[in-house]
């Protein structure tokens, strides 16, 4: 069964149709790269999956559970949505780390707030805290930041910040981890360290959706590539299908700009 | 809008004052010597004069009812000032205490901003201004005033070293003056067509002269006697010409029946000698208005 099913999602901002009838599905362990020019709706699509935007039409299902149905007002309530967001993680282009917390604090914060909602929180407070801290340290070590845990974001490089942000998203164990152009805000020499971490996650069969402009990376890491244009999915397939046996003229135009430039 | 509110206010005050005026007059006739009785009668008559108005429309009844006469003052030796215990004393303060006692109410002294005295009265935050207040046209038109009880003069203050040159009114023409805004002194200099700057208080006017920003000031003679010359910060100042003699009175809310009651009280205090005794205590006996 597909881990994620998206059916007929569309979204309009002020009369501009940004997403037009998007449908696709994803299997557990899949890594999907979404490519396309700016304004093609890639970011809006990711934001819809994380409920930062509410689609005007369509259904979003995870593991067969309907998280969102535009036709069912009950699924649109903010209180309902909060927990459903946890199925997804999102890594932002501009990191959005919390500046007043250390790297470790950033990774632990949301988990600790969630833990307070557990019925046995008061009794096991110390224990729970220790568990969360242990996990967070493990994640940061995995990101190669073992010696940076107690640094504040402003003391870290962009690449280090983005790796903290990835650890922060992973801490909540999302079913699907989304990346919104994770390296676009980084200096070229720093993109490598972030891409390497994402590659490692792919190797561990983490289900991911990655919006990116790094074509070589998309091709290398993805099991599926989606080309979006003008709010539609224009082309979809394995990296080999999309990059080497391109069907659509529009896709070819887009790719040629990257191979030349 | 504000004008409308004020005119409504004024009508109300006028109406009350007319009623109250009737009341206090008839009260005086009934008991000539006992002011406390007069007060009560005044209040009663006020209420019986019309069926619709209540006793509260008499200012006297209002004060008696709340049990405190709030006296608006400034710190002004020898009229109202604090003794070493921090209690208000002075010729005016002591007379005010005696007057309140005769009404059977407590007295409360409150320092006010002199510029706002009419506002304080109309806003009912004080009940009277009793602070060596010169009876100018402005004062008598905006307050219900008693008759004069003390004489005063406006005197010209200049530095000692030039005092010889300014001994008569004609010599003042090319001086620049500092006077308290709205004071009797300001009225005098502006009537003489002199060049002047209005300042916040008489003491500020002295400061202007001392610092040289103005050539001369015009202040009350009683105040001048207390504030300048040897032993003060203004040892180099002196006063010369008396511009005008004037008189002190006590002001109440426009239309208040209390002014007449206080006049009566003054007459009695003069008759039994208590006012003279009080004046002597503060060295102002020579200035008492004799009648």
């Amino acid at each position: 069964m597909a881990i994620l099913e998206v059916e007929h999602v569309s979204k309009t901002f002020d009369k501009t149709e940004v997403l037009k009838d998007i449908s696709f599905s994803l299997e557990k362990g899949d890594v999907v790269s979404i490519i396309g020019s700016s304004g093609s709706g890639k970011t809006t699509f990711l934001r819809c999956l994380n409920f930062l935007e509410h689609p005007d039409t369509g259904v979003i299902r995870v593991n067969g559970e309907t998280l969102f149905d535009a036709a069912d007002p009950q699924t649109r309530q903010e209180s309902e949505i909060r927990k459903k967001r946890l199925h997804f993680g999102l890594v932002f282009q501009s990191f959005n780390l919390f500046p007043q917390y250390t790297a470790l604090g950033n990774v632990m914060l949301a988990k600790e707030l969630l833990a307070k909602e557990q019925p046995d929180y008061k009794a096991r407070k110390k224990e729970i805290h220790a568990e969360i801290e242990e996990e967070a340290k493990g994640l940061l070590t995995q990101m190669g930041l073992a010696d940076r845990m107690n640094n504040y974001p402003h003391q870290l490089s962009g690449g280090q910040c983005q790796r903290v942000a990835i650890a922060r998203a992973l801490a909540l164990k999302p079913d699907i981890l989304c990346f919104d152009e994770p390296t676009s805000a980084l200096d070229p020499e720093l993109t490598g360290e972030v891409l390497k971490v994402i590659k490692e996650l792919a190797d561990q069969k983490t289900t991911m959706i990655i919006v990116t402009h790094e074509m070589a990376f998309a091709r290398d890491v993805a099991s599926q590539v989606i080309f979006m244009d003008d709010g539609r999915i224009l082309e979809k397939g394995t990296p080999a299908e999309v990059f080497e046996h391109t069907k659509e003229e529009r896709t070819r135009q887009f790719l040629s700009r990257f191979t030349q430039g | 809008m504000k004008r409308k509110v004020l005119s409504v206010l004024l009508c109300g005050v006028l109406a009350v004052s007319m009623l109250a005026g009737c009341g206090s007059k008839s009260g005086d006739v009934v008991t000539n010597t006992d002011t406390e009785d007069a007060a009560e009668n005044a209040a009663e008559d006020g209420s019986s004069a019309t069926d619709t108005e209540t006793a509260a429309d008499s200012d006297m009844a209002y004060v008696v009812d709340k049990g405190t006469l709030v006296v608006g003052i400034t710190d002004f030796e020898p009229m109202d000032y604090k003794d070493e215990n921090g209690d208000w004393v002075g010729f005016d303060a002591d007379m005010a205490k005696a007057f309140a006692e005769s009404l059977g109410v407590d007295v409360e002294f409150v320092e006010i901003d002199w510029d706002n005295k009419v506002l304080e009265l109309d806003g009912k935050s004080i009940d009277c201004v009793w602070n060596g207040m010169t009876l100018t046209d402005e004062v008598t038109s905006s307050m219900e005033c008693t008759g004069a009880y003390l004489n005063n003069a406006q005197v010209v203050v200049v530095p000692k070293n030039v005092a010889d040159k300014y001994q008569d009114t004609d010599s003042l023409a090319d001086l620049s003056f500092a006077v308290e805004a709205g004071s009797a002194g300001e009225a005098e200099v502006s009537a003489l067509g002199l060049n002047y700057t209005p300042v916040k208080a008489q003491s500020d006017a002295l400061l202007e002269v001392a610092s040289g920003t103005s050539d001369a000031a015009v202040i009350d003679s009683l105040m001048a006697a207390a504030m300048i010359g040897e032993g003060t910060s203004y040892a180099d100042l002196t006063y010369t010409v008396a511009l005008n003699s004037e008189k002190y009175g006590v002001g109440f809310r426009k239309g208040s029946d209390l002014a007449a009651v206080l006049d009566e009280f003054f007459v009695n205090a003069m008759a039994d000698g208590s006012m003279q005794a009080c004046a002597e205590q503060y060295g102002v006996q020579a200035a008492l208005v004799q009648e």
Binding site: L90, R168, L172 | V5, E77, Y81, E111, G123, S125
Partner: protein, 224 residues
């Protein structure tokens, strides 16, 4: 000088009144300002319009006029002096005028502080499953405080000096106390120096405040 103890005593009690007004204004205006800030950012239009209208009136008129209106208007218009004429009444009226006035200034600072926190902070909190309340207190508040401390410090220093305006309704704060000796008070008349000496009180107090506020600012320097 024999006058010294008397003058200092009077200035001290005047300054005590200044301090009382200062602290009561802070205690009242800091939370009230937050309410007004939320009001003016509310999505419910009548509330935001009302809040903005109040802020416009208060910031658009001199505090001195507000003091006069709040103290004298009830007696003039309603024929009922709600404050009482004594010193307590004057202090109460002054406190309320100052609290309302400063709350409006603070609210604008808060609003700027809240709006200057990038929208990405809220989004990051949301995708991590945090509630709006958690996001406000755990994520945005600290960043907002850091941003408002410098402008708030300015307002607070100004407030110390603005308390002297309360003498328009005859609140006997330190400048009033200093001026009293020019006219004559407690046997001392015609003395100018006490008025100028009040500046020393303001200077020292503002010096202490500046040091404390700078220390706070430095404490918040651990993040950017």
């Amino acid at each position: 000088m024999a006058q010294m103890p008397i003058v200092i005593g009077a200035l001290n009690s005047g300054f005590l009144q200044t301090l009382r007004l200062f602290f009561i204004t802070l205690i009242g205006a800091v939370p009230l300002g937050l309410l007004i800030a939320f009001g003016s950012m509310s999505k419910f239009r009548p509330l935001s319009m009302l809040s903005k209208f109040i802020v416009w009136i208060i910031r658009g008129t001199p505090l001195m006029i507000q003091l006069l209106i709040i103290f004298y208007f009830p007696g003039l218009v309603l024929h009922k002096q709600i404050w009482g004429g004594g010193e307590t009444g004057r202090f109460l009226a002054a406190s309320i005028s100052f609290i309302i006035n400063y709350a409006c200034y603070f609210s604008e600072i808060y609003r700027g502080g809240i709006q200057s926190v990038p929208v990405g902070q809220e989004e990051a909190g949301l995708v991590l499953g945090m509630t709006k309340t958690q996001i406000f207190f755990k994520v945005k508040l600290m960043q907002m405080i850091k941003r408002i401390v410098p402008p708030m410090s300015n307002e607070i220093i100004t407030l110390v000096k603005d308390t002297s305006l309360a003498r328009i309704i005859a609140l006997q704060e330190i400048i009033w106390a200093g001026q009293a000796f020019m006219k004559g008070s407690q046997g001392i008349a015609g003395e100018i120096w006490p008025l100028f000496f009040t500046a020393v009180y303001y200077l020292i107090f503002n010096g202490v405040l500046t040091v404390l506020l700078e220390r706070l600012e430095r404490k918040l320097d651990y993040f950017r």
